[in-house]
């Protein structure tokens, strides 16, 4: 089953065609990689999926829902969650609150239920938050302000927050940037865990160690165009890809 | 009283001429917004303060009126730098309300200092010599000489600012800082110096606007500050936040609009309609006349 399907999508910034007639799909339970040199349109693609800015042409669908014209929060309600290249947490809030904010309060149940969630701490949401903090080894930091966490912890918290909204599709924007090899290993295990929850993942990444070992399928972008698609080991040997990266 | 079409057009003409002052203030707000993506709420207050100081210095040294028109902008520029240092330079930009609030504080600080020093009573501003006596008749419509002077001086000032932004090294640096602060720093540009110069330039425009407003009204009073602040801001928004061209055109039109409602609804209600114009734009054309699409972020 196709979770995300992008068809003929283009986006222009002034004179630069950041994304050019892009096709891309993510299936259920799949981890798809999106790689390419700097400025090839990877982050723009993620931002188009989340609705940070509107696309010029084409269509983006999540299951059967056309995302065109939907606000960012509506896309989140449909099941899209993301992390950011430069971590964006709610710095003044505690770790616990950061995750709590994103737990599903909208979209499910009656108006009264939604309203109630704003005022009451339901047992279910407390359990969900605690579970996520356990999964990302943040339980002992639960009451610390997010801005006081270490870099690695902030990355984990961002991931926990993204999962709290019970997404169907998780977009990861360079989650391994600045990590050492050991941390990349941990991240890989976590991404597999996310997949085991039934969530599809679209991974934008430069760190090949991660991309090659975690993804089922890789799409390669260059100058906003898709130049290759395939299994990780097939991509590794692809001449076009090597040219895009090394210009040889 | 019957209002004829001649009255209407005449009042719009007067208003557009006077509107060049709003255009000047609007350009000043735009310059600072363009440089730092921030509002300097103390801007109109420092403009009027510049005019006051110019007037005061000329009065004490009994200098010619023309000198006032040099001193006012100069002091306006210096106050601009002072406001930059006090409200913008050292407040970290991640506290995004800090500079805004500080500049509102500076607005009332300047306002109250003027009220205190003048005991709250307005001062006479010297007339513009031959300009205030001149009156040009074109067909059925008249053009007040002093307002023509206001328009010409404003247009000259705004043209020189635009030339400075697009033809000089300072302008290049200023635009570089506003577009890519970090890249500009790497090129050896000191952003604080550039921003201080922008505040100085905007302050010069403001001081000029203050002198012109006082000359056109005939008196100078701290009561000019708040209306000038709000109308300058409205010109900035209607023109499109960040667009110099927009601020100029919107300022002139705002003057005409204001004068029209002065004629139709009287002095007590005039400003209600001028301010409502802002909401009309916010609802129907939030990006203003010439603004680029503003990202909601």
């Amino acid at each position: 089953m196709t979770v995300l399907s992008i068809k003929n999508v283009s986006k222009r910034f002034g004179g630069v065609l950041a994304v050019d007639d892009l096709d891309l799909t993510v299936d259920k339970g799949e981890i798809v990689g999106l790689i390419g040199p700097n400025g090839s349109g990877k982050s723009t693609t993620i931002n188009l999926i989340c609705g940070v800015f509107p696309m010029d042409k084409g269509s983006i669908k999540l299951f059967d829902n056309d995302l065109k014209g939907l606000a960012r929060y509506e896309r989140s309600h449909l099941g899209i969650a993301r992390t950011y290249q430069n971590i964006r947490l709610f710095g003044g809030l505690t770790v616990w609150q950061n995750v709590w904010i994103a737990t599903r309060q909208n979209g499910i149940g009656s108006f009264a239920k939604k309203l109630g969630a704003l005022f009451l701490r339901s047992q279910k949401s407390v359990e969900a938050v605690d579970e996520l903090l356990d999964l990302f080894a943040l339980q002992n930091k639960a009451n610390i302000a997010a801005e006081n966490l270490s870099f690695g912890e902030q990355r984990r918290l961002e991931l926990a927050r993204a999962l709290a909204s019970e997404p169907k599709l998780l977009l990861l924007d360079e989650p391994a940037a600045g990590m050492n090899s050991e941390e990349v290993q941990e991240l890989r295990d976590r991404i597999f865990k996310v997949r085991d929850l039934g969530i599809s993942v679209l991974l934008v990444e430069h760190v090949m160690e991660l991309v090659m070992n975690v993804t089922d399928r890789i799409n390669v972008l260059n100058f906003g165009k898709k130049i290759a698609e395939g299994k990780p080991n097939a991509i590794q040997g692809n001449a076009l890809v090597q040219e895009a990266y090394f210009g040889s | 009283m019957v209002i004829t079409s001649v009255d209407v057009i005449q009042s719009i003409i007067d208003g557009i001429l006077y509107g060049s002052i709003y255009a000047l203030i609007g350009v000043g707000f735009t310059l600072i917004f363009g440089a730092m993506q921030k509002l300097n709420m103390a801007y109109a207050a420092s403009s009027i303060a510049g005019a006051y100081c110019g007037l005061g210095i000329s009065a004490v040294l009994s200098l010619n009126l023309l000198v006032t028109f040099f001193l006012g902008p100069l002091v306006g520029g210096l106050i601009g730098i002072l406001v930059y240092l006090v409200c913008f330079r050292f407040i970290p930009s991640r506290e995004h309300l800090g500079s805004l609030m500080a500049s509102i504080g500076a607005l009332f600080l300047i306002d109250e200092i003027i009220v205190h020093e003048t005991d709250g009573s307005p001062l006479n501003f010297p007339e513009l010599g031959i300009f205030s006596e001149a009156y040009f008749l074109v067909g059925e419509f008249g053009f007040r000489g002093d307002l023509i002077f206001v328009l010409i001086v404003s247009l000259l000032a705004m043209t020189s600012i635009i030339l400075m932004l697009y033809r000089t090294k300072y302008g290049l640096a200023a635009r570089a800082v506003s577009q890519q602060m970090n890249a500009a720093i790497l090129c050896g540009i000191n952003p604080h110096k550039v921003n201080a110069s922008t505040f100085f330039l905007a302050g010069v425009l403001g001081g000029l606007a203050g002198c012109l407003a006082a000359a056109a009204v005939g008196v100078i009073s701290p009561l000019l500050i708040l209306p000038l602040t709000i109308k300058g801001l409205i010109a900035t928004v209607i023109g499109g936040l960040g667009s110099i061209k927009g601020a100029i055109i919107a300022g002139l039109l705002l003057g005409g609009f204001e004068s029209l409602f002065l004629l139709v609804r009287g002095v007590n209600e005039r400003d209600i309609y001028v301010f409502l114009l802002l909401f009309l734009f916010l609802v129907f054309k939030p990006n203003g006349m010439f603004g680029s699409i503003i990202d909601r972020d």
Partner: protein, 302 residues
């Protein structure tokens, strides 16, 4: 005694005004419209008790609701766009409200006496309390009950998800929206709640001073309203309370002998605080310091 009751009343209005700005500031938005809502509350409830001879409580209620609805209507266009637009829109709104009341003349005879708002002359004879035999301490009691209720509600807000959502928006709008929060509607609701509190404050103000006119409702008062939470710090609602006592109680009332230098000091105070304590005076370190101090004292007592 009268004098101190008078100060207590003034502090009460200002605390409520500060709270009305505080709610919206939690979302990172600065509004200079609080004085407009304050004026609407004052005039609306005053007109209801004077011209329509209502009881005070429904009049206060309607005044607050009217201000809240107005806040909703201002917030709707202004909050859709950039944050800076709200400052410009609200400063214009406050002046519109002031000018409307400057021009509002609505008078007729009640019990052989012509009453009601009289344009630039102001709105006199809002004498509900005197006519119904309220003592001054009862008025003070009423005002401070409202303040206490508002304080408790705002403190409670920080214990529930609604409060966390407001602060999340203030911290990072984009991340909040991508986490499923409808940022614009939350801001508009916050604006409306602020309007209700400011309107209530206005109603109380009109009835305890018995006289209001447009000169009270200036942008300066709007600046006072936003300065309390910003000077006090947004860490907790008690920062606003402390700032009102500091600014109104000490700076404005306590330093009476300085005359109009006090407003100059007010401007300077804002600039100083924003430069040296941009998170407000009651920030994290302050709270930590106090709690450590209390802990120390407890140990000493033991």
């Amino acid at each position: 005694m009268e004098y101190y009751f008078g100060i207590l009343q003034t502090l009460g209005f200002h605390v409520l005004l500060g709270y009305s700005a505080y709610i919206l500031l939690l979302t990172g938005q600065l509004s200079l419209a609080q004085v407009g809502f304050f004026a609407i509350g004052a005039y609306a409830s005053g007109i209801l008790t004077v011209l329509f001879e209502w009881h005070i409580f429904p009049a206060l209620f309607i005044g607050a609701i009217a201000a809240g609805c107005m806040a909703f209507m201002v917030g709707f266009p202004a909050l859709r766009i950039k944050g800076l637009m709200l400052v410009i829109a609200t400063i214009a709104f406050s002046e519109i409200v002031r000018l409307i009341f400057f021009n509002l003349r609505w008078r007729f005879e009640i019990n052989g006496l012509e009453v009601g708002p009289d344009g630039a002359q102001g709105f006199r004879e809002i004498r509900y309390f005197a006519a119904n035999g309220w003592e001054i301490y009862e008025i003070v009691w009423l005002i401070w009950t409202m303040v206490a209720v508002a304080t408790i509600l705002l403190w409670w807000l920080d214990q529930i998800k609604a409060g966390a959502i407001l602060r999340a928006i203030g911290s990072d709008e984009l991340a909040a929206e991508s986490s499923g929060i409808n940022v614009t509607s939350v801001k508009i609701v916050a604006m409306a709640c602020g309007g209700v509190i400011a309107g209530l404050s206005g109603g109380l103000y009109a009835h305890s001073t018995t006289y209001v006119d447009h000169n009270t409702f200036t942008v300066l008062l709007a600046t006072f309203a936003v300065s309390y939470p910003l000077v006090g710090g947004l860490k907790s609602v008690f920062g606003t309370l402390a700032a009102v006592i500091f600014i109104q109680g000490i700076l404005i009332e306590g330093l009476r002998f300085l005359g109009d230098y006090r407003t100059i000091l007010f401007g300077a105070l804002i600039i100083l605080v924003m430069n040296f304590k941009p998170k407000g005076i009651v920030d994290e370190n302050f709270v930590k310091g106090i709690s450590e101090y209390l802990r120390l004292n407890k140990k000493l007592i033991k």
